[in-house]
């Protein structure tokens, strides 16, 4: 059974004329890792807010269609119930620091305090989450003294520790270096294998190709393409619609025109490109 089920979802922010999401139909299985790509303004963040219940519960505006996560219907739930099932982390890490805590450890415990987790269990869960994302050594630092990439890890850890059924991440690695990005992707992959369902907005195509199960390409609030990363990210439709594509894909596409790329399928990652050019 699908954990996430969106049927004909259309959403308009208050005081706007054109919908930010239009007729979205989407089913996601439990434990699936779905990546979302699209240009600026395509509606990626709006999709995240919709899954996490903030549209319409927080932003108001007009929502139609049905949004179901873990057997519950968004329109029949309140936001504070909804966030127990769906965790959200977004791009700007600075604004995700609660501002009420003095150390990273306390910051990560904040959500657990709010939902009333007993103290001993809370400490264990915070320690496990810190170890999982590799920031145990930051535990006693002030969250404000960290670098952008470190703050993003704290933001991710703060939401992972709540153990949501559905994890929604809106560009969670935008301030991270390649090593940090790789680590975050592997952590998220591991969570998905452990049964957590993940929806992640991301621009880094090579990482998506390696780690995600499925890619959704959004354009002007609608789903343009959807499928396996290797197929969606190399599709001509994507290139024609001005999506950012991996440099290996565009190189190979040019090479193919010149007859230098022999394979049918275009590469997304370096390894695939090397493999293809060898033949």
């Amino acid at each position: 059974m699908a954990l996430v089920n969106l049927q004909n979802v259309t959403y308009k922010y208050p005081l706007t004329k054109t919908p930010a999401l239009q007729n979205i139909n989407l089913q996601i299985k439990e434990g699936e890792f779905v990546a979302v790509v699209g240009a600026n303004g395509a509606g990626k963040s709006t999709l995240c807010y919709t899954l996490a219940g903030f549209a319409p519960h927080f932003f108001k505006g007009e929502m139609s269609g049905s949004i179901e996560v873990a057997g519950k219907e968004s329109s029949k739930s309140t936001l504070d119930e909804w966030v127990l099932n769906v965790g959200l982390a977004f791009q700007n890490p600075f604004n995700q620091i609660s501002g009420a805590k003095y150390t990273v450890f306390e910051e990560i415990a904040f959500g657990l305090e709010n939902i009333g987790v007993p103290r001993d269990e809370m400490k264990d869960r915070v320690n496990d989450a810190l170890a999982l994302t590799g920031i145990t050594d930051l535990a006693d630092r002030s969250p404000y003294s960290l670098s952008g990439g470190q703050q993003q890890r704290v933001a991710l850890t703060s939401i992972l520790v709540m153990q949501p059924k559905l994890l929604v991440l809106d560009e969670p690695t935008s301030q991270m270096d390649p090593i940090g990005t790789r680590e975050v992707f592997s952590v998220i992959r591991k969570m998905a294998e452990g049964g957590m369902t993940v929806v992640m907005v991301e621009h880094k195509m090579e990482w998506i190709a390696q780690f995600a199960d499925r890619v959704i390409a959004l354009k002007d609030g609608s789903i343009l393409l959807e499928g396996k990363p290797g197929e969606v990210l190399t599709s001509d439709v994507l290139a024609e619609n001005g999506f950012g594509i991996s440099r290996y894909t565009s190189t190979a596409r040019e090479a193919k025109k010149q007859g230098l790329w022999k394979k049918e399928k275009l590469p997304v990652t370096l390894d695939e490109a090397v493999e293809g050019f060898k033949k």
Partner: protein, 258 residues
């Protein structure tokens, strides 16, 4: 950057281990007694024989001394001078300076008032030095202070230095785009206008994002909140608190009576 945003000094002492509410009651008692006691030397004695010894018990004498000499004494000294000069009481003139004269009475009055202020500020400083803000807030929320209220207080305390450093960033950014923030007063005042936009609008967007972020972490959850810290409270401390409250009441009653 802002590694230390609170005054709290982490040490192990009896004072640190006291329940925050007990310490808060103690602070209140010291202030109330200093201000209402009918006996002239009360604030002086409280400072010498209660507050200074407490700073040793709390193992924060050095930090306390530092704060006292740099902050509290200059402020109290200023207050002392103002009141000594401008308080039109008494006849025994000791010192004359044009139309200003210091009388023995105004001197005594100023000394007492300055000492009261010293007691107030220094007991509060001692409280901040030995109490972790998160612990204070957890304890007060546990006792029924609304979570939102505690959040507003503590996040304001933390966010003020952030705003300050951000306005500095915006100024530098605007300057690098050719904005003139130097020159005469009117020019400078005029050049502040382009700073207001990013600071205010930026803050609004930030407030919205922060609201989403804390909401996503169950801030408005209806379940009973728990706390990372175990905040000890003994029945002995409860007795101390009641004792302090009785002292406060006594002092007020004596003040009205005498």
């Amino acid at each position: 950057m802002h590694e230390r945003l609170s005054f709290h000094i982490k040490r192990d002492s009896v004072l640190h281990r006291l329940n925050p509410l007990t310490k808060l009651t103690l602070v209140l008692a010291l202030i109330m007694v200093a201000f209402t006691s009918p006996w002239y030397w009360t604030p002086h004695l409280l400072f010498l024989f209660v507050i200074i010894p407490l700073s040793f018990i709390g193992k924060v004498f050095r930090e306390f001394f530092f704060a006292a000499t740099r902050l509290i004494l200059p402020a109290a000294g200023f207050l002392f001078l103002m009141q000594a000069f401008f308080q039109p009481i008494g006849e025994h003139v000791i010192f004359k300076f044009y139309f200003l004269d210091i009388t023995q009475e105004s001197l005594m009055f100023a000394f007492k008032n300055a000492m009261r202020v010293i007691v107030m500020v220094s007991s509060f400083t001692l409280f901040l030095l030995t109490t972790h803000p998160s612990e204070l807030m957890s304890d007060l929320t546990r006792r029924g202070l609304p979570g939102q209220f505690a959040y507003v207080i503590i996040s304001t305390l933390q966010i003020l230095p952030q705003i300050q450093s951000k306005s500095q960033t915006i100024i530098s950014a605007q300057r690098s785009r050719g904005l003139d923030t130097e020159g005469n007063f009117f020019k400078r005042a005029g050049s502040l206008v382009p700073l207001v936009g990013p600071l205010v609008f930026g803050s609004l967007v930030e407030v919205e994002e922060r609201a989403i972020a804390i909401e996503a972490r169950g801030f408005t959850s209806k379940s009973i909140k728990t706390s990372l810290y175990e905040i000890a409270d003994t029945s002995f401390e409860k007795i101390i608190r009641w004792g302090l409250i009785i002292i406060i009441i006594l002092s007020i009653v004596l003040n009205i009576w005498l």
